[in-house]
Each structure stands twice: as C-alpha cells, then as structure tokens.
Symmetry: C2
C-alpha cells in the first residue's frame, strides 16, 4: 500500500428539489456571479429560469455556448476576461462536466495575471482560484467532486487534463431529475466514461481489498443503473444511483493507497477527441477493450481474472487466460449493448491520422510510466485495432 | 434514495513516516498547541518524543490521562480550561479514538462561554471550534474522518455521541506502523467496532447497489485484515488496510442516500460502557448478533440474506430464514474467532442493572425511530440474551 495525501472538501447537496438551497449557499460567496452554461438544454429544462429567479438579488454575468470538449479559445479566455473586468466573486456552473471543467480553468485564470494556458499546461502553479458552485445536469465525468478539468486547444490539437487542489467545487448540487431528459446516446456515453474512470484505477499493480470491492461495486452499479435509465429515462432511483456512482470517478477515493496506473485510456482518448472532437465517453468505450487485449499477458492476467469474476460473474473454474479473454469480450459487449458505436470508423475516424495522434500521445501523456508502459507503436496499434 | 447533504473536509495524510510533515501542517494553525493524549503508550512508541522534537518551536500545553470512554469530568473540562486560559490556537490529539473524541468536545467547548455540557447534550449549537490535527495510533473508531465523538459523564451514566460539522479534524495523520504494538484485545475490539459501524448502516430499509457493495467490501476487508494483524502484528499491509477500512466508518460515505438506520447497537452499547466502562468494540460485538436475532422477521429477512451471501459467502440456494440464521451465527463466530469475549458476564456485566440500562437507552437514544423500532422491553431482552 502506497502513502497518500487526500482531501475532497466539496459539499454535495443531492436529491430532488435541492436547488431551493441555492440562495443560501451562494450568499456565502458574494454578489457578483459568472453563470456558465452550454447550449439550450438548461433553458429547455427550465433550470436557467429557475436559477435566475432564485438569484434575482445577485449581479449575474453570463458565459454561454461552452461546448463538449470545452475550448480554451474562446470559452476559457472569454470567461477569464469577464471575471477580471467585472470583479466576479464566484462562478456558478450549470450543466455537464464540460461546463464545469471549463469553469475550473476560468476560476484559476481569473486569479492569475498571465496567459491562463501557463496554468493549464503546468508551466505555472495556480496560487488561488475563484470559488465554484455547480449544478450538474449529466451523470458522467465526476468533475463535481474532483479538482480537475479537461481543456482542448484546437490550434495545437492539445487536450489537457488540468488538476489543481484550488479547483474543487465549493458546493455541487446534484438533482437526478435534471438528468431525465439526457439522450440515450449521452446516457450511454456517461456510463462508459464513469466505468472507464474506475477501470483506469482498477488496472494497476497494487490495490487493496477494500478499493477493489469499492470499484467492483461501482462498475456493477453503473451497468445495472445505466440500463434502467436507458429503458426508463424517468426512473428516479436509477438516475440517482447512476449520478452518485459517477461522482466518485476521479477524486481518488476508489484507489487511495493504490500504485499509479497512468490512466492510459484517457491519455489515448484525449488525442481522439482533440483531433476529431468526438464524444469522450464513446472514445473511451471504443479504446478500452482494445487496450485490454493489448496489455493482457502473464504479468497482468490475474487482475483481469479478478475483474472478470467479480464484475461480470465469469466462471472462475477456467484457465486464467480464458477468463481474461471472456472479460475483455464482456466489457466490449456491455458497451455495445448500451448502444455505443464500438469502432472508430463509426465516429468518423479513419487510419489517416493515427500515426500523428500516436506521436502526440507518446510525447504528451506520459504513458511510458503507466502500469503497462505504452510507447508510440503500442498506441498506434491500439488505435488501429479500434478502427 | 434519500436526499442528502454531505461533506468531509478532513485531509488524510497516510503512510509510514508521514509524521515528518507535521511542522508544515501545524504552521497553518498557530503557535499555541494543546497536545492531548492518553496514558503512556505514545511515550513507549517514541511518538511523544518525536512530536515534541518536531514541534520544538511551538508553545505546547498538555492534557494527558484521557481514558477510553473519555470522561467529561475531568478530561473535557480540564482541556477547555487550558484552552481558554492560554488562548490555544490548535489542538493536536495523539492516540486512539477516545483521545480524539475528547479533543473534539474540548475544541467546541473552548469557543463557548457556558458549560460545555450544553453543547454535548445539544442544548446549544456550537458556533465555532478550535482546529484539530490528530495522529491516530489505533484502527477502530473512524473519529479521524468524522465530526463526532462520544463523551461519558460518570455521575449521570450518560454516554453521548456528539456530532457537529465544526468538529471534522483539519488534518489526520495515519501511520500504520503506530498500530504495530496494539494488543490483540484492542486489535480485535477495533475490528469489531469498525465492522459494527458498517453493519449499523447496512441494516436499513433503503440502500443502493453501490453503498451495499462498498459496505460488503469494507466488512470483508476488515475480517481478512484483522486476522492477519492478529497473526502478525507487524504486517504493514494488513495494518494499513485495516486502518483505512476503519477510517470510513462514521463519516456517512458508506450510506449516502440510504434511509435512516438509527444505529441501534451503538445506542444500546453506550449504556453498557457508561454503566460498566467496558471496551466499546467488545460491547458492540456482544450485542450485535443478539440484536440481529431479535429483529429478524419477514420484513427484514432479505437484508440478512444479502449480507450473509455477499459478506460470508453463505450458499444462496436455501430457505431465506435458514440463510439469515446462518448469517447471524457467522457474525457471532467471526467475533469469537478473533478472541472477543462474547457474553456480557465475560466482561463483568450481570443482570442486576439491565432494567435500569434498558430504561436509560429507551429514554435517551431514540431507538423507537430505528429501522426496526426498539422499545424498553426489546432492549432489555437483547441485553438479557447477551448475558
């Protein structure tokens, strides 16, 4: 078991109707608010109007149009500009993980005098950040309970996972009813994203009995509840359980004391969505089984056996490599069963830029330090197998 | 799934040697420290000398002699007096859960003008508390990661679980090597305490797939690792896993969104250790299987089945009441197997005060609101069955 230093100071306010507590929460952070959101979905939900009504006494500035795979230019830069010009006290992010990720970069940039990219690219360490409150409308990224965000810079094909302890949201509101209208495609992609967060932590050299049990429970719950959500989008309990399952994804509670895994599928997927702007969860679901197949060997096989037996209920009385191969197959088939396109070609990616993407990943994602180290050729092979 | 409002802002610094970070941590909270501890164990460990050496530049006041089932008079009262007279900035609690529980009551009392019992008895709500840093030397209570403590007042036979959000430790240091010298008796009692924390949350009307999986993992890990610790007290990995398992016990992460369970075994055990000053974990282990037997019925049986099948691996292809009875028996036999005396008579309690204790519990612990409501006669019956 490894030493660790852990804290997640975020307050979670969870359940139907909790939004009514928004004014009381916001009153702690000041009167000047930057309200960040994406497209029209929070308006369709009535959530935009509800927030404006609840915060009628606040001075509200807006940054809208934040896209999936949120962009440094214009979103982060525009948000920082609004904060600095108007002396914003607090950011209120309303939407999915992308809106919140973008808001985290804005929160750090607003308290920094130079180019915010200095922070995101880790050239400079943030010394402070604006407080962030969020209202989450999509079960997926876990951004509501971690200190990271992923920002894309189109001109350089960079997609960087930016983490800093200043970026834990102060308060996250999670009302499962706001996810009732999430499409089947996004529900499935959210499930795949959250499952991959767990798998990235599960597949490592050194874990604990409790961590393994936590992660196996998370995976099983996500699979059961995502299917229920797809069958009946207004199943409150299923939406609620899936929402909380996703929340634990990236704040490390699943893997305290575990050895470093390297998050290889995220490293590879970042290139796919930086170059092609695909849905992150779909990219992860496509890559994961191919990565599994690529790293399966005598050293790693026992981990696949444990995962397969405990998560998928695969019969343990078989040759360990047979179990492992059934495990990879079960992972693939689960993603397929929730409607995820399981080939890169299905999401508009062909072989033409695989070499370039593999090179980018090898240069930028540090995957030579992953549990099973990946070099440029390994990455290219995994991409090719995913076509 | 129930609505909830959750936050655990404590920083956990975990692993061998992490104590070297103490000066850096303490420098955030001021120079005047109240160092609290129990008997001589931290001196035997060399931990007392190490702390004094690391904090040579701090102004340190001491409160020692804090007992198991920590006492309002003299410990809490003495600690509050020292804090007020010397304008203490921060409390450093070094020891097990009792030292930390006592320190929490002192932290609240130090910021309150009246009798600290007003706070502990919930007559007055704390408005502030001194910051607390702790170094834990026993894996058991989870006090290092929650905002509660249990305080005994001998003159009135009160033992009250006192919780307040101001009382989360700011920082908890957990070095498993400090638990190498914990006796077999205390190792077993710590395991029973931590297991009971989970069982108190598991046995409720409404839980989630993920919470159940978390709790089952916690229980299984505690059972495996406690046995390893008893066989080889210096097994670092087992001590470390057990220590972290215990940490999650009472901060609600195991049961976010679950319906209220009422923590009935704690309610009953508080009377046993208030009247007889027995070891808390032993009292819990003795009561738990008798409580289980008492509440087993058509309404509760499915929960016992899930617990028995998933935690103890009991064959699921049997009549559900047969499984449930095997589950109760397996729970009893596990506690017995780690050396816990399993009858009240073994720890010096006879029938003479059962009526009085049952009355006290019924009046003070709110168990008529537990998952299975318990009246005075139920409580007396459970005590009698535990003799």
């Amino acid at each position: 078991m490894q030493n660790f230093d852990y804290m997640t100071p975020t307050r979670l306010i969870f359940g139907e109707g909790v939004i009514s507590e928004l004014p009381e929460v916001m009153s702690k952070y000041g009167k000047k608010v930057l309200l960040t959101y994406g497209g029209g979905s929070i308006k369709k939900l009535g959530l935009y109007d509800r927030v404006r009504e609840l915060l009628a006494d606040w001075e509200i500035y807006e940054l809208s149009g934040i896209q999936p795979n949120p962009k440094y230019d214009p979103s982060v830069l525009d948000g920082v500009k609004i904060c600095k010009e108007n002396h914003i006290d607090v950011i209120l992010a309303v939407g999915g993980g992308s809106v919140l990720d973008c808001s985290k970069a804005i929160a750090a940039g607003a308290k920094y005098d130079g180019d915010p990219w200095d922070l995101i690219s880790y050239k400079v360490k943030a010394q402070a950040a604006l407080p962030i409150v969020d209202i989450i409308t999509l079960a997926a990224t876990g951004s509501e309970y971690d200190c990271g965000g992923v920002i894309s810079r189109t001109e350089t094909n960079d997609k960087i996972g930016y983490m800093d302890p200043h970026l834990y949201p102060a308060v996250s509101f999670l009302d499962p009813t706001y996810t009732f209208t999430v499409s089947k495609k996004q529900t499935a992609a959210g499930c795949a994203d959250a499952m991959n967060h767990i798998m990235e932590q599960y597949f490592c050299e050194d874990s604990t009995l409790q961590n393994d049990g936590f992660m196996e429970a998370g995976l099983k719950s996500l699979m059961v509840n995502a299917k229920k959500c797809l069958e009946n989008p207004e199943d409150y309990t299923a939406r609620a359980e899936m929402m909380l399952d996703c929340t634990y994804g990236c704040n490390a509670i699943y893997s305290l004391g575990n050895s470093y895994s390297g998050w290889p599928c995220h490293g590879m997927e970042h290139a796919l969505s930086a170059y092609y702007d695909i849905t992150h969860g779909e990219g992860l679901a496509i890559i994961t089984p191919r990565w599994m197949k690529h790293i399966l060997n005598e050293r790693t096989v026992d981990r696949f056996v444990k995962y397969g037996v405990n998560v998928f209920g695969i019969n343990a009385d078989q040759d360990k490599f047979d179990i492992a191969e059934q495990t990879v197959d079960a992972t693939y088939r689960f993603f397929e069963s929730i409607g995820i396109p399981m080939h890169l070609r299905d999401v508009g990616i062909d072989e033409s830029r695989i070499g370039e993407m593999a090179h980018h990943v090898a240069e930028n994602e540090g995957l030579e330090n992953a549990w099973v180290p990946l070099k440029e050729q390994d990455i290219a092979n995994i991409f090719t197998a995913s076509l």
